[in-house]
Symmetry: C2
Subunit: 246 residues, 2 copies
């Protein structure tokens, strides 16, 4: 898995299509990932049509990758199929609750990441759209997701037409803890974030946005408290609509 | 990533330790996984001590792997470090809400799965403990996790001392949908689950548990409605305790 060292998010794709056989091979291999009780609590909706992409785009704030990628994958936490199986077999399913949503979301996200690792190893480029859980109702409508199916990840996938620089990462000590959690002190924070804050690209972000610190870019612009609180309501409403909360 | 074809959950480990350098290399490489805003909203607690494993074991219903594996990793959704960074930089964090929990849990689970893929490629064996979100309060206490840190995955890791058979998987058509979701009909269900239900090991499960169908093993014994509902409450309470719900 040498590709892990050179992977980067790819937002621009060349015209070449993804052969159905390749996509099926990757989707199939990814299913070797461990799954709860071997139930495979996920489903994948493949969008290739222009109409399908156009229907999804607004849910992702019209990020251009949704329309320009040859394939868009929406990966869903799915207790529907398992519940239907139970109902067809004289069994009474009890998966309309938050724990079951988390179990299915976990299965779906683990599956998603193995797919990403396999696809990148095959030379494909991927963009993971975090917007999936911001407006889930719009995706649910576009893909006609029934009760107990909930979108948790979207990938735009294609052959790379760009090679952006590798993004920075925090030092290992900032996120690995020995035996118990070590709450970071202000001195730790200085150490952990020094490299990130010193990057010219990040200093430029701070300047052009008239902010004092890089952290303010995140708290005041990219991921604000008011947005997070509004989107928490939207997310919770969608969980209700799909039957995971009552 | 040829290892994906032969991976299986490993619950028995030989005496050989995992060298700290190898573990650090894998934990570090896994961090190349995409992450929201490049914030790396996760942390990993490494448990190697007997005392640490003994403290974690009850949270995982005393499954023997927790004590017998050389290393136990608890991967957490973590908005604590990012929030502390903000507070140290004249920025006001707003990540004490459900959406932020989901964002951090997503980051943590994607990171977890890349780690699994890398570790299995290096020859290590892993068991993913789904029990992590069943009794999160017990793990929070054992690992001293502060507010805005929440355990979402546990891996027991070691060198394999067993080679169990590969587990079965559903056919691709059961979990991959083209353009929109196709709700499975009873005929689809028969087709999708035929192989699983015909497996001798599964038929034996049904017999020894005096059940009529394999689905009943899941609904009546392994993942019951009453357990799921009780654990949903426990999970929600833990989210409140850690500050993600008010």
């Amino acid at each position: 898995m040498e590709s892990i060292h050179t992977r980067r998010t790819i937002r621009q794709y060349c015209g070449r299509n993804i052969e159905p056989e390749l996509l099926e091979k990757l989707l199939s291999e990814a299913a070797r990932t461990q799954t709860m009780g071997n139930l495979q609590l996920y489903s994948v909706v493949v969008t290739r049509s222009d109409a399908g992409k156009a229907a999804l785009a607004p849910a992702h704030f019209n990020q251009p990758m949704v329309k320009s990628a040859p394939v868009v994958l929406t990966i869903c936490a799915d207790f529907r199929r398992t519940s239907t199986w139970a109902e067809c077999r004289q069994a009474t399913p009890g998966y309309d609750n938050v724990l079951s949503f988390m179990n299915a979301a976990t299965d779906a996200l683990l599956y998603t990441q193995t797919f990403c690792n396999l696809a990148e190893e095959a030379g494909l480029g991927i963009c993971f759209l975090g917007t999936t859980i911001y407006q889930p109702h719009a995706i649910i409508e576009a893909l006609q997701l029934p009760q107990l199916v909930f979108p948790v990840a979207t990938l735009t996938v294609g052959w790379p037409a760009e090679e952006p620089p590798l993004s920075d990462r925090l030092p290992l000590a900032s996120f690995v803890h020995q035996e118990t959690y070590h709450d970071p002190t202000p001195e730790d924070i200085d150490l952990f974030y020094a490299e990130k804050e010193a990057l010219e690209v990040n200093q430029e972000f701070v300047r052009i946005n008239n902010k004092e610190t890089l952290a303010q870019i995140f708290t005041d612009i990219r991921y604000t408290k008011s947005d997070n609180e509004a989107l928490s309501l939207t997310f919770t409403e969608a969980l209700k609509r799909q039957g995971f909360i009552h």
